[in-house]
Amino acid sequence: MKDQKEYVKIDCDRNTFHVSRSAFVESDVFDREYEKIFDKCWLYLGHESEVKKKGDFVTRTVAKRNIILTRDTKGNLNALLNTCPHRGATVCRESSGNSKNFQCFYHGWVFGCDGKLKNQPGKESYDVEFNNDGSSDLASVPRFDIYAGFCFISFDPDIIPLPEYLAGAKEYLDLIASHSESGMGVVDGSQEYAIRANWKLLVENSIDGYHAVTTHASYLDYLMNTNGGLTDVALEGKSYDLGNGHAVLEYSAPWGRPIAQWVPLFGEEGKKEMQGIYDRLVELHGEDIAHRIANKNRNLLIFPNLVINDIMAVTVRTFYPAEPGYMVVNGWALAPNQESEWARKYRLYNFLEFLGPGGFATPDDVEALESCQTGYRNFKLVEWNDISKGMGLEAPSYDDELQMRVFWSQWDKYMQAGSQIISSL
């Protein structure tokens, strides 16, 4: 058996944790990530609110596959592979819409929104038993399940059930789903962008409490200069390992939160409305949970590549590598299905201030990630990233690096799975 290349180096005696920079640049790591991680995990497809009505659909690319998420005429959700079972053409070429049928434009085969083949031109030329086995229906993704409104798929038919996979992350998805008794929904408009950096850099960055003060200095200046943009709440909290590679930081912060941390910028009218939201949360969930929902911020990673940040607004973000140094990112805003015009407006105002490629913070994250990727050109000479901060501490702080160690440990586990067999060949 050949020695395996080491990507993650942990020294528990010296409390150091190192990751090889080659993991961000090597093309064989990129290939194996698709085979060993993206083909073996539960992946985020979309939110059930995006297909509210019967016949609603959205198309997505998930781990290089084209998928249609539909709500069929019975009201069931389906995740279908967007390729004609006949000769392969992309069946649905719109990004979203409502339709009872999908007709492949190549030869005219017609499928229901549950994927079942309904008709094909020249049907009389086919055997009477044609498609009795369903093999000419649009194929379903091997596994599909929903938790708290979040739709996940897996290309591994033998994967563990979604609730078991989500482990401790379930509690945090429940907290987000509990922002409003009207339920949560995706706001119209998605932020689609790319970063010239390895996808794992965005995993790290999305749950990195350590970088804010320097990377986002100009955003923090802005908050301080904006009259009424801040409360005197301290930035403090903890990070937690949620199992199966998932992690979260939960912390208080001085910025306003539409649910429901008031800042003077929201005005006196807003104060009254937010107090009402808070009181209702207490009635529904009790003081402790209400306090967490309203006043705590959460940066949640669901392994491998779903980030839900419940901060100055709620963003859902997922991303895939197109090559080792280039990732494609999709981001959405999540909001209560029913909230006042005022609250929706301030939520989005708050969102755009920090989040997204036109905000006052995300562009600087993009710059940081791209500068790391550029720095990795030296990876053979300067080989290791250090993510040791807070290692060995009993209760690591939100600005320690526990959550990244959780990710990387799981990443390494998946990447090594079956490797002995491969290396002995």
Partner: protein
Amino acid sequence: MSKEFNRHEIEDLLFLEADLLDEWKLKEWLELYTKDASYYVPSTDLPKDAKADNSLFYIADDRLRMEERVTRLMKKTAHSEYPRSKTRHLVSNVRIRNIDTDNDEAEVSAAVVTFRTKGGNTDPYIGSNYYRICRENGVLKIREKLCRLDLDGLRPHGRVSIIL
């Protein structure tokens, strides 16, 4: 006060805006705008009538945030734009779409391409700009600018860290 607008005069204003942005004279750029101005860049998958109050945009700035955007961009800690990128705003196909006589405002559209070059990459932002232009004490000012990108997303750009 004149209620008349002519295209030459409007083009001069838009060309001046392009120049100021390319020269990074952002404080001067702000002076082209009214005190109640706004600046929008909608997400690329939204319908044309989408509003920033209930849909997710890339940028939805009121005047206050336009000023803060400029303040931020002039700092060395605006890392994405320090060192500064080179930009070239090209403005073409300028048309007066409508004159709103009630508000003494012209609705103007223009085809635009803005190139941003930094770190060895040149990325084009292609689209149409929609302006509401008014006259303040005889001087043309921009009350609203909306940049609708003809792109499927910000790829490969990754950001709108410059002013479009």
